[in-house]
């Protein structure tokens, strides 16, 4: 636990040092919300915005972040002191969950002001969605298995896929494969099939993530 705490505090210090990026990252979903006022009719319509924030944070903040740090050589310095891949991973998840929580706080306050939604319900459902989405953080780590493509290019590809996913959110042709819709609908799908599917996908994601973590090497793929 102490190693997780050490990485977690380090991550928060690094976030604090990028204050403008941090503020912009917190404000962007709020701006997006205000541009889509006419599309929001109930509290549950916000689930896609929450899903977008969660998926972005976990993919960029956990998987892609680990791939970039590897290539920069940063992890070699950390792991030269103590081998701590699992603690590093869990600390990153905690860091992203902290960031998501504050992002949701700002987002939900804005939504409650604009739409008069109940703040307690917004906080409850959005926090519940964070917890349900933790397997996505594990899934994101599989990106570190991609060795033939540069980490920055992987980041760009993920950006494009996220943008396309958001744009095609309400298209019936693509929404079966739309991760934002799949995650967002976790809040409203209370069928037995839904629970079974969620369990299977979550367990598979966690297994794949742990496998990726076991295979993860801190040696840079780009320089010796």
């Amino acid at each position: 636990m102490r190693v997780v705490k050490a990485y977690y505090i380090l991550n928060l210090k690094m976030l604090r040092n990028e204050i403008f990026t941090l503020i912009w990252s917190l404000l962007l979903p709020v701006i997006f919300l205000t541009l889509n006022i006419n599309n929001i009719h109930s509290l549950y319509d916000l689930r896609f915005f929450w899903a977008f924030i969660i998926i972005s944070c976990f993919f960029y903040g956990v998987g892609i972040h680990a791939a970039k740090l590897r290539n920069e050589g940063l992890l070699k310095t950390y792991f030269s002191i103590t081998e701590s891949r699992y603690e590093f991973f869990f600390a990153n998840i905690l860091t992203q969950m902290t960031f998501i929580f504050f992002s949701f706080l700002l987002f939900n306050i804005t939504a409650s002001i604009i739409f008069q939604f109940n703040m307690f319900q917004l906080t409850y459902y959005s926090t519940f969605l964070i917890i349900l989405s933790i397997p996505i953080a594990f899934l994101s780590f599989t990106l570190t298995l991609i060795t033939k493509i540069n980490a920055n290019d992987v980041s760009t590809i993920v950006s494009i896929l996220m943008l396309v996913s958001f744009i095609t959110l309400f298209s019936t042709d693509f929404n079966h494969f739309n991760l934002i819709r799949i995650v967002g609908d976790l809040l409203i799908d209370h069928t037995l099939n839904g629970y079974i599917l969620y369990s299977i996908v979550s367990i598979s994601s966690i297994i794949l993530g742990l496998f990726s973590l076991k295979k993860y090497s801190v040696i840079s793929l780009e320089s010796r």
Partner: protein
């Protein structure tokens, strides 16, 4: 004792066999011989080699190229490393060490500075000092003298002698052999391209 048996990695290391006893071990060889790669394998950073390495359970490793966010402060690095060890009174311990080697003034001056604003030698001294505060059986140093001035090299050699007197093991790679004259007994191991 660290035993290296038939270690091979890509086209960099070929069937390396070595026995390293406690004390000062100097691994030397030409550029590209695989010295840094060998240290990566000994430290378990690189686990993709074939062969066997034993006796390397308790060690710390100062890489040739060190990376830590330049936006963070000197004290953040010390705090992070000591936190990994579960050490709470990191500032007291660190300055006790600094006092032994006459570095109190430098470290006090740099304590709240960003790592990016330090010179290369100051950064190396920070990393080196912090790592030497940790209690391990083995200390690995890859090109520790690189970018360090004469007084810095003398300090490092004093610390090497101190570690040897505590029955620790040191493994070092370097192209600068002159500072090694200050070490009481140097065991040399050659690693060449073949």
């Amino acid at each position: 004792m660290i035993k290296i048996n038939s270690v091979t990695y890509k086209d960099i290391l070929h069937n390396v066999n070595m026995t390293l006893n406690k004390g000062f071990n100097y691994i030397y060889g030409p550029n590209g011989a695989g010295k840094s790669t060998l240290l990566d394998c000994i430290s378990n950073l690189n686990q993709k080699y074939t062969g066997e390495i034993s006796g390397n359970d308790s060690l710390v490793y100062l890489n040739q190229n060190l990376y830590f966010s330049y936006k963070l402060k000197f004290k953040d690095f010390v705090h992070f490393v000591f936190s990994l060890e579960g050490i709470k009174n990191y500032k007291t311990l660190f300055f006790e060490y600094a006092e032994k080697y006459g570095l109190t003034e430098e470290f006090t001056s740099n304590w709240n500075k960003r790592i990016g604003s330090l010179s290369g030698g100051e950064r190396k001294r920070l990393y080196f000092s912090t790592i030497c505060c940790l209690d391990r059986d083995w200390y690995l140093f890859d090109e520790p003298f690189s970018g360090v001035d004469t007084s810095g090299k003398e300090y490092m050699c004093d610390q090497f002698n101190n570690l040897i007197s505590m029955d620790k093991g040191i493994i070092i790679t370097t192209h600068e052999t002159e500072p090694l004259n200050k070490i009481s007994f140097v065991k040399k191991h050659i690693l060449n391209d073949s």
